[in-house]
Amino acid sequence: MLNYLTKRTARVFVTIWAVATLSFGLIRLLPGGPFTQLRIQLLRQGLPAEQVEERIRNLQNIRPDAPLWQQYLDYMGALVQGNLGVSIRLDEPVVEVVANAAPWTIFVVTVSTILVFAIGISIGALQAYWEGSRFDKFFTGLSMGALSVPFYVLAVILLFIFAYNLGWFPTSGRYDHSIENVWSLAYLVSVLRHAALPIAAYSLGAAGGQALAMRGNSIQVLGEDYVEVARLRGLSDSRIATRYVGRNAILPMYTGFLLLLGFRLGGTIILEQIFTYQGLGLRLFQALNQNDYPLMMGTFLVITVVLVLGVYVADLTYSRIDPRISQGDEGEAY
């Protein structure tokens, strides 16, 4: 077990290092280089050439005139110390920008993902329980329909109906800035109201997919011998449904939950743009538009780290949920 833990932990660092290295290399392959445009702009502002180079150096913690390996070591050294450079456009440390944006995105994605699984598992389990019923058929159709609508289409529709037309929810932002006390109930309600539509748009379609997955898993488990044995033992339906079927059907979905947390962070680029929700996704979108490479790399890295940690936690905890692989060195969650 210790060997397994060590290997998995090492893999986390190796993956993050690989992504950081890849980012470092990729931005240097971009046409014109990351700072070409900025260099031109600063020169046009009348800054002496040496000042321009100094400013660019400050922005990325690199020395453009240094050998590539030196730049790489400087960059990685700064990264280890939590220094992601300075945003070209905002002239602020990337760490600060990310720290301000990330909690909001993580909040939306986490709540949304929990809802996706809660709704999906509940409906999927009921569908399996009443397999072939009108309920099952109705929700199967509904789930497939929901799954086929991209979340961003749903987002635009929800925004149009519930925010612009009905006015039930705000059209943009993260909270009502007129509320000064962030520890008040009004503030909490405001946060929830602002996040409601993004969360709904991000959850409904995906919940349909999870419901179908849960239904399939449950039906498969229902046919297992141990369920038949449980029935023969005379156990109650509810106990069979929760302890035997539910637990085993959920198992494969558990890792999916943690992985999805990471993957769905990437999807917030579009989601947050639609709702003008100032989180990590919107920052990444703006960084891409503005060739703000330090910010781009910073947000990429944060998303990567969250994803890698999700996988890591899933791996480490999976064995606790599924005793069958608790002793195995190869028992990886994905």
Partner: protein, 583 residues
Amino acid sequence: MAPNAEDYADAVDRRRFLELAGVTGAAALAGCGGDGGGGDGGGSGSDQVYDVGFKNSGQDNPNDTHFNSANSQTYSWNAGRMIHERYAAWNFKESEFELAALEDWSIDGTTVTMTIRDDLTWEDGSDVTTEDMEVQWRILEKIGSTVWDFTDSINVVNEKTMEATLSQESNPNIIKFAIASLFMRYPATEFERFVDQPASEVQSFKWNDPIGNGPWKLDAKNAQEFNFTRSESYYNAQNVNFQTMRVLYRTSNTAIQQGLASGELHGSTSLFVPPGTVETFPDEIEEVNIPAKWGYGMVFNHDDSIFGQREVRQAIAHVINREEMVANGGPRTKFPSEKLCGIAPKDQEAWLGDRFSDFEGYGVGASQTDQAADLMEEAGFSKNGGTWEDGDGNAVTADYLSPAGWTDFTTMTNTIVDQLNSFGFDLSVSTVPPNNWTTRFSNSNFQLGAMYWLPGGARSSFPYFPLRHQLVATAINGGHNWPEGERTVPAYEGSGTMTLNPTELVRSISTTPSESETTEKVRRAAWHNNHDLPMLSLVSKFEQSWLTDNDTWDVVDEDHKDRQVKWPQHWLPRKGSLTATGN
């Protein structure tokens, strides 16, 4: 305006940046300003101030932006113009300046005298004086503003009057366009400390707690909006009869369009809206169209073996059907240039006068392929299997560079490429992000592509600016490789040819004080442009600005002159031409 660049937001931002950085020649983007006094516009004429707020929109995150225009990378021009008064404004309807922060200005030889309005005050009630003005000009000198391209020195005469001494006698139009673009936004109390510091200090200063002198003062800004309240100390405060002006942050054009359609927003300073979407707007949403003096053109790399040839450029001009471009690119707001001569379309007849008809039109509504074919053959090309080839049998092949995301540009690019390929070229559209697009031009890493041929804003009304833009192209660091020196074109008068140095000729306009001489030089420079085609002056457009005119908000009529000053949201309240009704 930016980033969802279906409109020209990115470019406008960039142009503002360039203008402030002193690169593009002179004068500012949009003339805007006010006249001297109590307003000859709508003028509410009532002391009643209603506790309502006008909800404008913008695409700058207020938390990311500030009010120091010297730090242009994150300066919010849309918010900044709310609180600061410009020196003078250009009225596109009247084709004249209206004074705002200045009470008077005059040019006598090499002396420019500027007098600040007597009643112009900062929002705390203190007078705006030449002390502030001097600090501003010193900072502009430090950061290399264009006003210092022609200014030798400044001299404070008294508390309200300052003189600038020009390095040489200059064209008054250029001086006025340059000065009119300035805003009175550097209070000495805040900015004097930067006068003796390196330029980078003021250029990195984020002014988040600004002191204004306009009709609004900043009340609050957060991640969602700028919130301004009415300034009692504004000299035309009696014209402003509502309490707040808000600029709400939206990330996309679509979000603003939905906001307007639903009544959530009352206006948008500059927003591209497709015709289909305009039809969904309620009647109370009014569109204000001001000539943008900006539009789709074509730039060539003059070092290129094919497109560096004048005959090829002329052939291209003949093939392009500009009316078809407009029909595809948006006929509601766009219009073709009658003559390809480097002068803004709406100004061509006025400047060219009775010589207008002598200029080559290259077929504004037709593909003149016969003339084009003759020119190609004259240049040594021949057609083989439907494709034009040079003397070595190489097809006329090129990537046509166009900015991604600017949907109207993309449509017109596709139209042009289709027309030219039908003629026998082998062009491929290459759309790249706007930043890379300009970088490719700056690095001369292109053969031909879409490029704005007018530098934009009020100054483009004066032909010096677009003519210079096409030759010098500072916006792309001269990456189109226009060759300096003499050029031979058909004679301007009589038959035969004439030789001139177009760059020198255009440059000399800036130092010509006489109006008649200026006109003559403009005509000759335009004549050269018309034949040599440094860029193709294809299409121009109107800006689209949006306002609500309903039971709550009253806007002056469509033909009122106040509507023709950029931008309505900034200008109309100052003039009492956008008022609350009290309902």
